[in-house]
Structure formats: structure tokens, C-alpha cells
């Protein structure tokens, strides 16, 4: 029984309900409360890391918490294994800094913004920690409900349209997962991950197929894989920059966690093999990746371009995880980390740069580099990571991904990754050229310098540069991240340990 696990969910949840109270009492203290509870959440993660240091290094971390004291098959339980710890700490780390970024960035209706953000945070922690399918579904819908208003937070037509679209797709995806859940409960009579995992093979092939398919489709819609990618671009382009960073950098990674948890731990990876669907998933994911990269070329809107690049990278991650060798899992998990850092730094830096341009269009960003050289260089460094240039972390994850494809004999899949990064070079370069274009004031074309509307500019730039620095530093010391990740990969390839822990403990 580790009480910290329940605290990881309740601290953001309680904060979310304290914020309106604080608004009534003393409005100015709101930002201190927000940062304080973000810091508490962060220190909980640090506490978990320090107290279980040896287990994390050896890859044998297992912590459990039973809600209400009921033992697993009857009550709901929270479990933290290596996989949960990895994703939980990524979420905590990134959201904490995005909260601080938001303090400088969001200038209006801050109370509502933080309420939604903290419930979203709690939901993400909940998904990562829960050991129960229904609980998992509830948190999944909670993410949808809280992130949709965040997308529409600018209160314009575009934002509302995007949020409605996001809701449509999210609800349909959730519906599929819910149908799968009903099938599971009606056939097995249990909702606990470990119980399902033990009894799943006793189901008939047809039932297994339908459950796996519904979960797969639901997750693919939520992830925005190619034929269902329309909401990603809309949502990530109109949302405020910290929310775009959150959606692209973290929420999507939570769906990848769900994919891993469901198809490796609950259903077992052999279900995919029996369905003979692995080749199809890799094909769809890589097609999605290439289509995303190619569509990014056509975009003349910087945030839509970044959103398409997200689609491109998520496809790669899914494809490499399905390969299911140790190196492939490591590569996928490392790219989750790398893509999170790089996308957040790209969105945070553009969020700042876009304050000085009339619109998101590339043509309006002419000459922005001359005014904000440091931030623009940060953008270039992060984009270099996206293309896979050393010494950024993106290079190492790219190397591991290609290596794992080659190791499994999938030479064409590996070359798709290379192709994607070459296209990425071209579309990011378009933006750099616009950024460095020389503009003379008073020329025939109308150009005016828009002054920043940010009232805490320093916070915004510092956090953006912090993420850029994290991209470079984590690349230089990628070996430090490598050993815990290989522990995670060991667990993913041997999910019985997780099942034994829940049922035995």
C-alpha cells in the first residue's frame, strides 16, 4: 500500500476545486497556489524516484494501492510498475513546466483555464496508474471533456469548430472502447486488468477479435492515425500554444501508453499475432507517418505544420512498438520522450514568436528571427532534433528506430523513417527562410511590428528555452535515460510479472 499513488491523482484534482475558492478569497494568490501544487505533484514523483531508486535501476518497481482497502478482483486498484512510472514522471515533468508557461501566456479567464488543466492532469495520472478497465475508460473520457474546452479557449468560431470536431472524434473513439469494455464484462464478468489478462485466452477467437478490434479502432481514432487525423490538425492549430503543446506532447503519449497497456499487458501481444494484423498496423502507421509529413509540406500555417508533423511521428512510434523486439520497444519509448520534449519546445517557442505576427501564416512570419533571435534559434535547435540531427535527443531515437526495423528485417519500413526526416528538413526549412527574410520598414508591403501582449514575457521565454535546453542536454546524456527505459522494455516484453503482482499482492 503506497499512499503516494492516490496522492498523485488527488493533488491536481483537489487543486482544481481549490482554484475557484481561491478566486473568491484572494485572486492574486491563484498563481502561487497553481505553482505550489504543481510543485507538490513534482516532488511526489521525485519522492517516488528517490525511495525506489534501486528498484527503478533494476527494473523491478512494483507499487500498489487498493482503493477502500478492497483487494484487486473486487475493488479498484492503482498499480505503479516501470511503464506507469515512466509515463507518470514524463507527464508530471512536462505539465509542471507548462503550468508555469501558462502563467505568463494565458492572459484571460485564468481561473477556468487552471481548473480544466488540473482536472486534465489528474485524468492523465489516473489512466497511467489505474488497474481497472472501467476506471481507465472514465479517465479517458475525462481527458476528452477537459481538453475540448481548452481547445476552444480563445472563444472564436475557429476554436469552437475545432472543439466540436474534437468532441465528435473523441466520443466515437470512446464509444468503441466502451463497446469493447461491454464485451469484456459480459464475457468475463470482471474489469480488473490482471483478471482479464489471465482469462482472455479462454474466450472464443471471434470474441477476442472483436474486443481487440474495437480497442484498436478506438485508440487509433483518439491518436489521430491517418484516415482519422482530421481533428488533430484543427485542434492543435487553433488552441492556445501551451494547450497545443499539451495535446501534442503529452495527451497523445497517454494514448500510446494505453495502446501498450492494453495490447501487451491486458490482451497480450500474441492476440495481434493470431489476428495476423501486425503487418497491417505497421503499414497503416507508416502510411499515416508519410502522409502526415507530406501534408505538412503543403501547409502555409506554422501550427498546422507542427500538427501534421505530430501525426508523422506518432505513426513511427506505433509502427516501431508493434515490431515488439527489445530494441524496438526501447526505441519507441525513447522516441516518446524525445518527441514530447521536442514538440513542447517547438510549440512553446512558436507560441512566443506568434505574438509578434498578425497571423499563423508563414508569409506573415517574415523577419521574425531578427527581432527574437534567441527564441528563433531555440526553434531551429528543436526542429533540428525533429529532423534527427545530433546532438539532439531526436537523433538517438531515430537511430534506434531505424536499427530496430533493420534488425527485424523490415528494410522498407526503416527507409520510410529516413524519408520522413528528409521531408521534415524541407518543411522546417521553409519556415526558417521566412523567419530570416530581411524586411525593410516602409516598403510597399504593409508591415508593422506587433508588440507582445504577454504581460509576463520573461516566464514564457525562459520556459521555452528550458525545454530547448532539455532537448540538447538529454541528447548529450541519453545513456542516463537508456538504462531505466531498457527496464521498462523488459517489463513490456514480460507482462506476467505485472499480472502476478496484482493477483498475488
Amino acid at each position: 500500500m503506497e499512499t503516494v499513488l492516490i496522492l498523485l491523482i488527488t493533488v491536481p484534482l483537489v487543486t482544481a476545486f481549490l482554484i475557484p475558492l481561491m478566486d473568491i478569497l484572494y485572486k492574486r494568490a491563484r498563481k502561487y497556489l497553481v505553482v505550489f501544487s504543481a510543485f507538490i505533484e513534482f516532488s511526489l514523483s521525485i519522492y517516488l524516484f528517490i525511495t525506489n531508486y534501486n528498484k527503478i535501476i533494476n527494473g523491478t518497481l512494483f507499487l500498489g494501492y487498493n482503493l477502500g482497502g478492497w483487494i484487486p478482483p473486487i475493488g479498484i486498484n492503482l498499480v505503479m510498475d516501470m511503464l506507469s512510472f515512466y509515463f507518470s514522471s514524463l507527464v508530471t515533468f512536462a505539465v509542471m513546466f507548462l503550468v508555469i508557461y501558462s502563467i505568463g501566456f494565458i492572459g484571460h479567464h485564468e481561473g477556468k483555464y487552471y481548473v480544466l488543466l488540473f482536472i486534465l492532469w489528474a485524468a492523465m495520472q489516473g489512466i497511467v496508474l489505474t488497474g481497472d478497465v472501467f476506471n481507465f475508460y472514465v479517465f479517458l473520457e475525462l481527458i476528452l471533456i477537459t481538453s475540448a474546452p481548452l481547445i476552444a479557449f480563445k472563444r472564436n468560431t475557429e476554436g469552437t469548430k475545432a472543439a466540436i470536431k474534437y468532441m465528435f472524434y473523441g466520443i466515437i473513439g470512446g464509444l468503441f472502447i466502451f463497446i469493447g469494455l461491454i464485451f469484456i464484462y459480459s464475457n468475463l464478468g470482471t474489469l480488473n486488468f490482471a483478471e482479464i489478462a489471465v482469462n482472455f485466452n479462454s474466450l472464443s477467437f471471434e470474441t477476442q477479435k472483436i474486443i481487440a478490434l474495437f480497442f484498436l479502432l478506438g485508440l487509433f481514432i483518439k491518436l489521430g492515425i491517418f484516415p482519422f487525423h482530421f481533428w488533430v490538425v484543427r485542434a492543435q492549430s487553433v488552441a492556445p500554444s501551451p494547450v497545443s503543446a499539451l495535446l501534442s506532447g503529452i495527451v497523445e503519449k497517454i494514448y500510446i501508453y494505453s495502446f501498450l497497456r492494453m495490447f501487451w499487458f491486458v490482451f497480450g501481444h500474441n492476440v495481434l499475432q493470431e489476428l495476423k494484423i501486425i503487418g497491417l498496423i505497421i503499414f497503416i502507421a507508416l502510411l499515416s507517418s508519410i502522409v502526415g509529413h507530406i501534408l505538412a509540406l503543403y501547409e502555409d500555417d506554422i501550427k498546422r505544420m507542427l500538427a501534421y508533423s505530430t501525426i508523422g511521428h506518432l505513426g513511427i512510434i506505433i509502427a516501431v512498438l508493434v515490431v515488439n523486439s527489445k530494441l524496438a520497444i526501447i526505441a519507441g519509448l525513447l522516441h516518446v520522450f524525445a518527441h514530447m520534449l521536442m514538440k513542447i519546445s517547438l510549440f512553446t517557442t512558436t507560441g512566443y514568436i506568434l505574438q509578434f505576427t498578425p497571423s499563423h501564416k508563414l508569409i506573415d512570419s517574415r523577419g521574425v528571427a531578427h527581432n527574437n533571435l534567441t527564441i528563433f534559434m531555440g526553434f531551429i535547435v528543436a526542429a533540428g532534433g525533429m529532423m534527427g540531427l545530433p546532438p539532439m535527443i531526436g537523433f538517438f531515437s531515430k537511430v534506434f528506430i531505424i536499427q530496430s526495423f533493420i534488425e527485424s528485417g523490415m528494410l522498407i519500413s526503416g527507409s520510410m523513417v529516413v524519408l520522413g526526416s528528409i521531408i521534415a528538413l524541407i518543411y522546417y526549412f521553409r519556415y526558417f527562410i521566412y523567419g530570416f527574410k530581411k524586411i525593410t520598414l516602409g516598403s510597399t508591403e504593409e508591415f508593422r511590428l506587433i508588440l507582445s501582449v504577454l504581460y509576463r514575457e520573461r516566464v514564457v521565454t525562459d520556459i521555452a528555452l528550458f525545454f530547448v535546453a532539455a532537448v540538447v542536454i538529454s541528447g548529450l546524456f541519453y545513456k542516463l535515460i537508456y538504462s531505466p527505459i531498457s527496464g521498462v522494455a523488459d517489463l513490456v516484453l514480460n507482462p506476467n510479472l505485472y499480472i502476478e503482482f496484482i493477483l498475488g499482492g
Binding site: 470536431k165 465528435f168 472524434y169 466515437i172 477479435k209 478490434l213 479502432l217 481514432i221 484516415p227 482519422f228 482530421f230 489476428l275 495476423k276 494484423i277 497491417l280 502522409v291 507530406i294 501534408l295 505538412a296 509540406l297 503543403y298 533540428g384 529532423m387 534527427g388 540531427l389 545530433p390 546532438p391 537523433f395 537511430v399 531505424i402 536499427q403 533493420i406 534488425e407 528494410l411 526503416g414 527507409s415 529516413v418 526526416s421 528528409i422 521531408i423 528538413l425 524541407i426 526549412f429 527562410i433
Partner: protein
């Protein structure tokens, strides 16, 4: 921690020799760059320092991943150096090199997967050829060389010196480590490179373009040495990498001063160059003689060793004589137009040209070449070799006579002044070629921008995909049931 780090590197004579030469070349080019006025000097020096670190990584390491990191860093840093010249050239260079280095990354991972975890001899022919093609984009193997004359002739002179003198050699240094027992593909590619580069240099009217094509030609000699698998030719390649690196650096740096003095890049306008600048003339003559392989200069020693590649085959020996004559052809053609072209109306003016680092930056490489000539035997690991200087003198005088005769018959190859090669021209040529093959020989004089052409084709593809995809929410949502049906049918 430190020992595991140091274990990734090999410090043998071979590596240290190359590292010292590379650092020296960069240093000399940096000294010369001080004579040019440009902005952000500190950033330029920073680029050079990172460039030095990255090529030292390439040369010293025995770990493939560190090699790739160094390779990419060399691409990035040389791209930044080119930004001091022309933005467009730099951009094209980066895109081409990035494609090349990505291909190389892929090949290297295949090599690692085949069991060669450290950099060492590779025995599989297909992997060898893939590696040659991978490094070929930076090292200008024939067929992948198309960017080299354009970039090297348009870059600022100190940067051309670095690119032509050392960056192109890095690929060959890796080949020296991996292809130890010969590769026929590389051997014949080398012969083609010597002939193609040499003939293009003979036809060039621009001095820097001539030097760039001569780089391709001389790289061919290195490729022959590595590709033959003969141990003498192998060490000849090692020597030629160093000698050509030094000579080309000196020549490119002096070309920068020639352009300042004569205010032209065309060799016909050099006119009586000897009287315009004697010091520069002497250095240029010595530098080109090193390339031609005249006796008493290190170029002779390296070419003497490379000629062991012919083995006992008489035919190949004759081919090698022709290869030597080709180098003499462009060297003597340049001498004719630069030094024996009367300029009647010329008056020596004393223009203020900043050249305080001229002597240092162009003379020291030449001096070191003289040093190498004397100590050739101790530099290469084969013990004492008799270079047969007298025999060489005889042979080279025959080469000179033959090349002079050929040049005299062709009226010293006075071709029309061509514009500096650019990617536009390349694309126009490709387009014309396509038109000819279709039976339509109309010459297209439209200025076509290669980048725009490629971008447009890519963007049109994405536009087409974008147009196919549904725009309305209803039809987009309709894709979900379709996908389900397809999935159910598939399984």
C-alpha cells in the same frame, strides 16, 4: 567512465597523421579568412572549432554511431560556413548532404546489423558498395559529384579550401579503414573520375571551377589506390590524401588572392599573371605541379605508389599513363593562359588589397609538401622504397611533351567563356537532354530554379493528397465505418 569513453577512439599513427593534417588545413584557411571582411567573425571561428571536433570524431573513432554523429556535425558546420557566402548555395548543399548522410546512417545501421560492431574491414561486397555510395555524396564519387563544382566554386575561398582540401577526404579515410582488400567498383569508378574530372577541368574557363573539377580528378586517384587492394597503392592513397589536401588548400587560398588581384575568375583574364604577382605565381605553379605529379614533389611519390595498382597488366599500365597525361593537360593549359597571354595595355596599379596572411596561408602547405617529399619513406609503413626519380623524370618529361603536343594541336583549348555552373544550368541541361531524347531539340533558355522545381513537385503531391481527402466533417466521419468494414473484411 573516462576509459569507456576513450575506448571508443583509436590513437594510432594513421589517425593522428590525418587529424594533424586536417587541423592544419583548417587553421591555414582560418588565417587566410582574416583577409576577407565579413560579419560575425566569432561565430565563424566557433563553427570552425566545432567542425574540427567533428572531423576528429570521424577520423579517430572506432564506433559507428560516433562516426555518424561526426559526419552529421560536419554537414551542419560546413553548411553554416557556407552561409557566409551565398544563402542559396548553402541551402542546396545542406539538403543534398542531409539526404546523403541519412542514406549513410541507414547503411551504417545495416553494417552494424551484419555484425561489424566497430569500424574495421568489411568483407561483404554489397555492404562495401552501399558504404561507398553513402559516403559518396560528401566525397563526390562519380555520379554523386554533381553538386561539388557548383558549391566549391561558389563558396568563399577559405571555405572552398576547407571543403575541397579536407571534407571530401573524410569519406576516403573511412574507406581506407573498411575496404582493405580492394573493391573493383571503386577501382573503375576512380578511373572514370580521373578522366571525367580531368577533361572537365581542361574545358573549364573559370579558375575555381577548374580547381573543383581537378579535385574530382585527384579523388579518382585515391579511389584507384583504395580500390585496387594493392598494399603499395593503398599507402599511396594515404599519402595522396595528405598531399592533395595540402596542395588544394594552398591553391584555393591563392585563388582567392588571384580573384582580388585580377578582379576576374576567368583564366583568360589573368593575362601575364607573372608580372602582376610573382609570389602568388610561384606558389600556384608549385601547387599545380604537385597535382600533376612532377618529380621532387610529394605528388610524384604518391602517384608512383598508386601506379602499383596496375599490377602486371600492360593495358592498365597504359591507362595509367593516360591518366597522368590528363592532369598535365589542365595544368599546362592554365599555365599557357595565365602566364603566356600578353596583356599589352596592362599597367601595374597599386590597389590596396588586404593580404597580410597571404604568405603564411599559402606558403606553409607547400613547405610541408616539400617536407613530405623528403620524409615519404618514414611517413608510410612499408620501409624503404626507391621512388626511381630518374625513371620518373624521363617518364614525366614524355608526359609533358605529349600533353604540350596535344594542347598545341587543339589551339590550347580556347573555349568560349562559360558562366559559373549553377544548379539552374544543371537543370536546364537535364531538361534539354530529356527533350533531345524525345526528339525535340528546342533549347530551353527559361531560368528554371531547381529548388523551386523540386519543392513544387513535392508540394503538388501534397496538394493532390489534400484535395483527395474529404473536407466536410460528415464525410470525414464517414471514413470511420468504412475503415471498420475494411478491417473486418481483411481479418
Amino acid at each position: 567512465m573516462l576509459s569507456t569513453f576513450l575506448n571508443q577512439f583509436v590513437f594510432n599513427n594513421f589517425n593522428i597523421l590525418f587529424t594533424v593534417t586536417g587541423i592544419f588545413i583548417t587553421f591555414v584557411a582560418l588565417m587566410s579568412s582574416r583577409d576577407y571582411s565579413y560579419a560575425h567573425k566569432e561565430l565563424f571561428y566557433l563553427c570552425n572549432i566545432i567542425y574540427i571536433i567533428s572531423f576528429v570524431m570521424i577520423i579517430m573513432t572506432n564506433n559507428w554511431i560516433i562516426f555518424i554523429i561526426g559526419w552529421e556535425l560536419v554537414t551542419v558546420t560546413t553548411f553554416f560556413m557556407l552561409l557566409w557566402g551565398s544563402n542559396k548555395i548553402a541551402r542546396v548543399y545542406l539538403i543534398i548532404q542531409f539526404i546523403g548522410s541519412n542514406f549513410l546512417l541507414y547503411v551504417v545501421l545495416m553494417i552494424i546489423n551484419a555484425g561489424y560492431t566497430t569500424i574495421g574491414p568489411i568483407n561483404e561486397l554489397n555492404l562495401q558498395i552501399l558504404l561507398i555510395l553513402g559516403v559518396g555524396v560528401k566525397s563526390a564519387i562519380i555520379g554523386l559529384h554533381f553538386w561539388l563544382p557548383i558549391v566549391h566554386s561558389r563558396a568563399p575561398s577559405p571555405v572552398s579550401a576547407i571543403l575541397s582540401g579536407w571534407v571530401v577526404k573524410l569519406g576516403f579515410i573511412v574507406m581506407l579503414k573498411t575496404i582493405t582488400s580492394g573493391n573493383e567498383f571503386l577501382f573503375y569508378a576512380g578511373i572514370v573520375m580521373v578522366i571525367y574530372g580531368g577533361l572537365q577541368a581542361v574545358l573549364a574557363t573559370d579558375y575555381k571551377v577548374m580547381l573543383a573539377f581537378s579535385t574530382i580528378s585527384q579523388l579518382g586517384f585515391i579511389a584507384i589506390g583504395i580500390g585496387s587492394g594493392n598494399i603499395y597503392a593503398y599507402w599511396g592513397s594515404v599519402l595522396h590524401i595528405i598531399v592533395h589536401g595540402l596542395a588544394k588548400t594552398s591553391l584555393f587560398l591563392s585563388s582567392g588572392y588571384w580573384i582580388k588581384i585580377t578582379k576576374s575568375r576567368t583564366i583568360y583574364n589573368f593575362k601575364n599573371a607573372w608580372f602582376k604577382d610573382r609570389k602568388n605565381s610561384i606558389l600556384t605553379i608549385i601547387g599545380l605541379s604537385v597535382l600533376a605529379g612532377m618529380p621532387f614533389l610529394a605528388g610524384y611519390n604518391s602517384k608512383y605508389l598508386i601506379k602499383y595498382a596496375a599490377g602486371d597488366e600492360i593495358f592498365l599500365k597504359y591507362v595509367f599513363h593516360i591518366l597522368s597525361i590528363i592532369t598535365y593537360l589542365y595544368v599546362f593549359r592554365f599555365f599557357r593562359w595565365a602566364f603566356f597571354n600578353n596583356d599589352k595595355g596592362f599597367k601595374k596599379t597599386h590597389d590596396e588589397i588586404k593580404r597580410s596572411n597571404f604568405i603564411f596561408s599559402t606558403l606553409t602547405p607547400i613547405l610541408i609538401i616539400f617536407g613530405i617529399t623528403v620524409f615519404s619513406n618514414s611517413l608510410i609503413g612499408l620501409g624503404n622504397i626507391n621512388f626511381h626519380i630518374l625513371d620518373g623524370l624521363l617518364k614525366n618529361s614524355i608526359y609533358i611533351v605529349v600533353s604540350l603536343l596535344i594542347l598545341a594541336t587543339f589551339n590550347w583549348v580556347h573555349v568560349k567563356v562559360k558562366p559559373v555552373p549553377s544548379l539552374n544550368l544543371l537543370l536546364i541541361n537535364i531538361k534539354n537532354f530529356m527533350n533531345i531524347s524525345k526528339g525535340d531539340s528546342k533549347v530551353n533558355t527559361l531560368e528554371v530554379d531547381m529548388e523551386n522545381q523540386i519543392y513544387n513537385s513535392l508540394i503538388n503531391t501534397s496538394k493532390a493528397i489534400n484535395n483527395v481527402l474529404p473536407k466536410k466533417l460528415q464525410s470525414q466521419l464517414l471514413l470511420i465505418p468504412i475503415a471498420i468494414l475494411l478491417l473486418l473484411l481483411f481479418i
